[in-house]
Amino acid sequence: MYTLASASAFAPAATLASRSDWSVLKPLLAQSVVQTLQMVLITIVIGGVLGLVLGVILYGTRPGNLFENRVVYRVLDILVNIVRPIPFIIFLAAMQPLTVKVVGTSIGTTAAIFPMCIMCTFATSRLVEQNLVPVDHGVIEAARAMGASKFTIIRTVLIPEALAPLILAYAFLFIGVLDMSAMAGYIGGGGLGNFAIAYGYQKFDQTVTWTAVIIMIVLVQVVQAIANAIAKRLLRR
């Protein structure tokens, strides 16, 4: 693990003619942006959907809710609590054997996406659960009284009622996933985080580091602004 990470970090750097040679750095930066977007978007989609499902199950099995089931809720609740606090860099290492089994390799961008999706699923599930809890039980009861089935209620009442906060939750999640992607460099996943460490921090070039930081800030700002705009349009309270 250590040698692999070092190799990926230093091998291209060693071939650079000089620091801050932007003609060399530019294509590397572009590649890093693509890698980051790839990792983040795939993770958000897969982890986001799985997390939505897990979050709805967590919410639904809560005592007093539609699918009340104390055992399922307790098990999932504890599982989420176990996984979520693990620092992602350690999670990456711990997941390595499983990653090899599922992805076939434990290095590279794809290998980074798998543990990112797992972590994202658990993080999303809690966020989804927390944003469904405030939904007024009254509207759910009203739908039940009209003869709606439980799945119909989730699809047509529960999620639409919580849509605005859910979108904000996903924007929040985007930042978390971006944070995770920065650590992908340790397993040769590349991306902006790796770019900043390898060509900025390790070559004592603050300009390179800050270039990566600023791109990430812009990414976050854009995503947050879009999410805010959508949420504002959706929020009818």
């Binding site: 009203a142 009284a145 009209m146 003869g147 089935s149 439980k150 639409p160 849509l163 605005a164 309270r237």
Partner: protein, 421 residues
């Protein structure tokens, strides 16, 4: 108002228990209730919060299932039905709520269309029905607004339109006017009356406000600590309440009987004979025509004239319940004591009266009320204990850790069935 006299909802020895997690004891929210509601009724169920009325009414559309006993609605035993089979029954039972429970992310029109979507109506039929309903509740111009843009009264009217969408036979109103101001309450109640009269829909109205029941119900059940303590035609219950809790409710709806403080104030100002006369426009009879409580206060004007008594009307309140007058009036009679006594003796023959005496020779308030033994008026001694009990129950009902004792898993249901057979 009453087309047929067929019972549409029948509670048969219904018990509903909740168990508090941790604590071993169970709490009876509904305690052995047997009740029958006829088609076309506006049936009021009144009680303090926590008396079990909400739990009771939620068993009609099986949002709650009884621990024991059966609830029969339109011929179906809804207390032992699966969610899937309940669906068509629920579509024939509309429900409106205290907090309206409108979908905040859907427009008024979408809210009303929701039950139609569930019922797989064709889109053009849906639109037509929504317009119809909007017009019925007088909200045509608000179709594309969101609930947050509406007033409380408008929200409840949307709730009513939504509840009526699939042409239900029954409308359950769970404290439907409790979040509204008095004027809006009257508007909503008038709408509910229209729902009952024009569409022939049976309404079950839960409330803790006696004046709500009084305004539109034709029958009433009074609940206390999970039991139905009194029920009957609204006028009969109003005119001759038997239970302390009922008397207490009626006292809140009618202020005809002055309280002790007011009597004291009046006595200072008017030194003559203070007498409260109970007004009941007609006799209360049982099913066989026997008079349970006679009319009262109907011949007072005639008697005053005949005895030549000078009188002043000081205080009172007359209300109509089911279009029949009911209430109490307080007079000051002045003049010769012997003539007043003779007059009062005559008056007593056909009326319930409370004689508070004169300023010089007063009768203690409690003694006066007790001597009169009238049906109307609060009964403080017995009442104080009841709300405390009710509050206790309410606290437990609202606790998240309350466990539904109704068998819900297939295995439990099977066991319960075995036990019954």
């Amino acid at each position: 108002m009453t087309q047929g006299k067929e019972p549409i909802i029948v509670f048969d020895h219904v018990v509903k228990e909740f168990r508090q997690r941790g604590a071993k004891k169970t709490m009876r929210a509904v305690d052995d209730v047997s009740l029958s509601i006829d088609e076309g009724d506006i049936f009021g169920i009144i009680g303090y919060s926590g008396a079990g009325k909400s739990t009771l009414v939620r068993m009609i559309n099986a949002l709650e299932q009884p621990t024991s006993g059966t609830v029969t609605v339109m011929g179906h035993d809804v207390s032992h039905m699966g969610e899937g089979r309940l669906r068509p029954v629920r579509q024939k039972i509309g429900m409106i709520f205290q907090q309206f429970n409108l979908f905040s992310q859907k427009t008024v029109a979408q809210n009303i269309a929701y039950p139609l979507k569930l019922d797989h109506w064709r889109k053009d039929y849906q639109d037509k029905r929504v317009l119809e309903l909007l017009e019925f509740v007088g909200l045509s111009e608000h179709a594309n607004k969101y609930p947050s843009q509406l007033s409380g009264g408008q929200k409840q009217r949307v709730g009513i339109a939504r509840a009526l969408a699939t042409n239900p036979k029954i409308l359950l109103a769970d404290e439907a006017t409790s979040a509204l101001d008095p004027e809006t309450t009257t508007e909503v109640l008038q709408l509910l009356e229209r729902v009952n009269r024009q569409l022939g829909i049976t309404i079950v109205l839960i409330t803790h406000q006696m004046n709500v029941v009084q305004q539109i119900a034709n029958r009433v059940a009074v609940m206390s600590a999970g039991r139905v303590v009194e029920q009957g035609d609204i006028y009969d219950v109003f005119a001759a309440p038997k239970q302390p809790v009922t008397k207490r409710f009626i006292a809140t709806a009618m202020d005809g009987l002055p309280d002790p403080a007011r009597i004291a104030v009046m006595r200072e100002q008017w030194p003559g004979r203070l007498v409260t006369v109970v007004v009941r426009q007609r006799d209360i009879v049982d099913a066989d025509g026997n008079v349970l409580v006679p009319a009262s206060g109907q011949d007072i004007s005639e008697l005053i004239a005949r005895h030549g008594i000078s009188s002043g009307l000081l205080y009172g309140g007359i209300d109509t319940v089911q279009d029949i007058a009911i209430g109490a009036m307080t007079y000051e009679f002045t003049g010769d004591e012997a003539r007043i006594d003779a007059f009062l003796d005559d008056l007593r023959r056909h009326s319930d009266i409370v004689d508070f005496g004169t300023k010089a020779d007063p009768v203690d308030y409690d003694t006066a009320v007790e001597r009169a033994r009238i049906a109307l008026g609060p009964d403080e001694a017995t009442v104080t204990s009841t709300p405390a009990l009710d509050d206790d129950l309410e606290m437990i009902e609202q606790n998240d850790d309350v466990v539904d004792m109704t068998p819900t898993t297939p295995r439990e249901r099977k066991a319960a069935r075995k036990e019954r057979d």
